[in-house]
Every structure is written in C-alpha cells, then in structure tokens.
Subunit: 255 residues, 2 copies
Amino acid sequence: MDRSGGRARHSGDLIASLSGRNPARNLHSDVLWELGLAIVSGQYAEGEILPPDSDLLDRFGVSRTVLREALKTLAAKGLIEARARIGTRVLPRNRWNLFDADVLAWFFELGPEVGFLRSLAEVRIGIEIEAAALAAERSVPELSAALIACVELMAIAETPADFARHDLEFHRLVAEASGNPFMASISALVEMALTAAFTISSPVNDPVALGVTVSVHRRIAEAIRDGDSHAARLAMRDAISQGFDRAAGRMEKEG
Amino acid sequence: MDRSGGRARHSGDLIASLSGRNPARNLHSDVLWELGLAIVSGQYAEGEILPPDSDLLDRFGVSRTVLREALKTLAAKGLIEARARIGTRVLPRNRWNLFDADVLAWFFELGPEVGFLRSLAEVRIGIEIEAAALAAERSVPELSAALIACVELMAIAETPADFARHDLEFHRLVAEASGNPFMASISALVEMALTAAFTISSPVNDPVALGVTVSVHRRIAEAIRDGDSHAARLAMRDAISQGFDRAAGRMEKEG
DNA sequence: TCGATGTTATTGTCATACTATTGCGGCTGT
DNA sequence: ACAGCCGCAATAGTATGACAATAACATCGA
C-alpha cells in the first residue's frame, strides 16, 4: 500500500495548487510527507518509538542529512520528540500543532471524517465570528468594498474552483480587516475546510444552495460595512454552519 | 565563538519550566532561538534574504548540519523559505504560524506590547468561548467535578506560580471537555498568555482581584456542569477579558 | 533587440566519522 | 541479599568535506 509506484506524489498538491502555493519538490519533502502521514494515520501510534535512524535510512534510501531534517521538521510541528538512547517518540495528540498547514493536510489526505470536519467548523466558528465582529468595529471603507466585491464574484463564479477561490479570499479579507494577526494566521485552516467542502459538494451546481451561500456572505460583508458587529457575528456563524451542514449532509447521503 | 559570557541561555526557560516541559539544550536549539528572535524582532525584515549558510556558519561557529536543521525548523514554522541560488527568505508575517509555542515565545521574549496581548486575548475569547459552550453541551460529570476542584485550588493558591498552574490546568480541562482536538491544541497559546499575565500581574497578592478571578472561573465551571452553554460563553468571555484588563492596566500604570 | 547559453553563487544531498547522552545490566561493597 | 555505583552500548547529536541541482545573471550569437 505504499506510493512507491514510481514518482507518484502526495495529493497535497491539489490543495497547494488551489491556494497558489508552489511547494518545493525535494527528497526532504517526500520523507516528511510519508512519515507525517504514517504518524497522523496512527500507523505509528502515540507514545510509540519509531524505528531508529539507521532503519529509516534503509527504508527511504536517502542520506542521514535528509532524514534528520525531515525528523526535525516533524519535531517542529510537535509530532515527535527525539532523545538520545531512547529513540524518536510520537508525542500525544494534544501536543500536535493542528493549526499547521502540513499537519492538517495529512489529516485530509486520509479522507476527512465527518467528526473531524465538525471540529474544524467549530474552531472556525469561534475564531471567525470574533474576526467578523472585530472587522465590523474597525471597519475600513476600502476593505468593506473589497468584501462586497468578493461576494459578487462568488455569485457569478462558474466553476467550483473559482467559487472556492473567492470564498477563501473573502474569509482572508475578513481576517485582515479584523486587524488581528492571529486571525490571518488561520488561513491554512480555512483553506482546508473550504477545499474539503468544495471537494465534497460545491454549491455552484445547485442554484438554491448557491443563492443561500452568497446571501449569507453578503450579510457578513454588509454588517462589517455598517459597523454592526452583532449582525456580523450571527451571519458568520450561519455561513460556516451552512457550509459544514451541506458537506456533512452530502457525506451522509453518499456514505 | 559562542555568545558572550559562556552558557547563558535564552529566557524561554522560565516559561518552559512553568509549563513542565523539559526542552533539550543542544546547539540546534541555540541557533534556532537566536535566529527566531532575530526574525520575529524584525532584525531580518519580511521578504529580506538572510545571510548565506557560509556567513551564518561563521557567525554561530557550528557545523552546517546544526545550522541547516535550525533553518528547517524555522521553515517548518513558516518563518522562512529556502531556495537554491536565491537564498533563504523571511516569509511575510501572515505565513508565520502564530499558534506555534516557539514563535509565541519569541514574541514574548521581546517584551509583549499591549497590542499584541490584546490580539491574543481576542483569539482566546473566540476559541475558548466556543470551547466552554461545547463543554457545557457535552458535559461529563467527571470533568465537571475536576473543573470545580480546580477552581478551589485556585482559591487557596499561595504563590503566583501555583495560581498560574491551576489556572492553566483549568483552561486545559475546558478544552478537553469540549471534545474538540483543536481546542486542546491551543494550550500553547493559553500557556503563553497566562504566563505573561502572571509575570505582569498576578491576582494572588490582591485579595479583591483574586476573589473576582476565582468567582468568574467558578461561574464557568458551574455553567458547564449545568449544561448551560449560554452562561458558559458569557463567563468565559468575562474571565479572559478580566485577565487582559488586569495585565494591561498594570502595564499602563508602570510605564 | 532579443533569445539562447554558459557561469556561478547558493541551497540540496551524500558519505563517514566522531561525540554526547542515558537506560540497562553487571559489579562492588556492605 | 541488597543498595548503590559504574561502565557498556545503543541511540541521537555534531562535524567535515565533497558533489549535485537550481536559477539569477552575464555573455554571446543571430
């Protein structure tokens, strides 16, 4: 069940391409993704010790440098911890940095479960509601206009990918308008959530769903423009809940 | 040559020791912290290219292995991106993973500005309000009891450090009770915020402040026990706001 | 003028050796 | 028989030097 059939790459590429990133394709990244996936999938359980360097070296056929840099990267994301004579231990899940784009991508690579998507929607609600409220309080005409424009682009989007792009841009703008650097830092989270939702079920092909989605986003934009933080809160909650409900409903129907 | 004065270590130790972690003391970590601080402080500005490996090698007096692993760690946290022939570029701040414990620690190391503390309080409000509400909805007697017990420990804490420990444990329990893994993952954030607040001004030595703080935490615990998500929301908001107000007020008074 | 091409500075990768840390098991002394 | 010390060995940490891949830039040619 390995992906060793030639140079087939991890499918994080899809997500990366949507977000406009251009991740380097090097050995380090290959090893990183394979180990990252193995850990997130539970193939190496929490608290377990992974094979020693020498074994992993054989397995991947790379130099010690590459392997160790991959391990350092995993350690930086809170997935593992290396200690001399003990080995490299998988840390408990609550130490994992779930707000990291790669870690999230690994979860999605395994096929996101509905419970995971729900958790994601819950944090998004918490953070983005507050972002919307702050954006309303600190409303700047320029950004408000950009938000409105973004909604119009969503309304006329012709492909699911276009729609997702403008949706993502909308949420990014709200974060920016909040003036809080932490809000902007969760764009990876939003990106994943939207990518998942868009993959599972895009509203583009369903006129009714499209209308609902656009209108709730318009409510957000207008509330921010008008400096109405209460309305912004409510609208943002609706927007995220609806997105999740649509995806979850679809998953249920199909699965 | 190493940094003047022998083995003087970065002061993140204080934070680490409070939180019970036992960070490795190795060369890699030294280089990491020095570069991390330099970047966060703006000594290397966004978009700027840092000196090439060879220069940094001279500067730190370590092997290429160590330097490169430190750089990989910084890259994993979203602070830099290295490309052949170009150099190693400092990424724009919105790519930084502010939810990373190290990155946060570097911000605090520079002396947290009141605006930064406010931003932190804002995200905490967003996330922890939702966590408290979820905890109320999914209330489990066992955890509710633990929360109540935690409050009692806060009430009788004799030193600021003890108080901070129980405070931290309280918020950790709420996150756990929410049943949402993302909520637990932000403990690093809470940790930093509380450590900062505790450093700036602990309520332990002020009976009135202590009473207020304890009572608001008790309100949270009771609301969760009673399954009252609305009350839990309100109380959690109060708790975080009060903590921030106290620290901010103290900062203002002093300077 | 512009496009192809070589040059070169910089990161990426490799191989090997040595050092530091620390759990474990055996040794020693009581 | 037991406790504590102590050295062994397994593992990650560090060092060094070489070569490969990449891509901006200068150079050359049409």
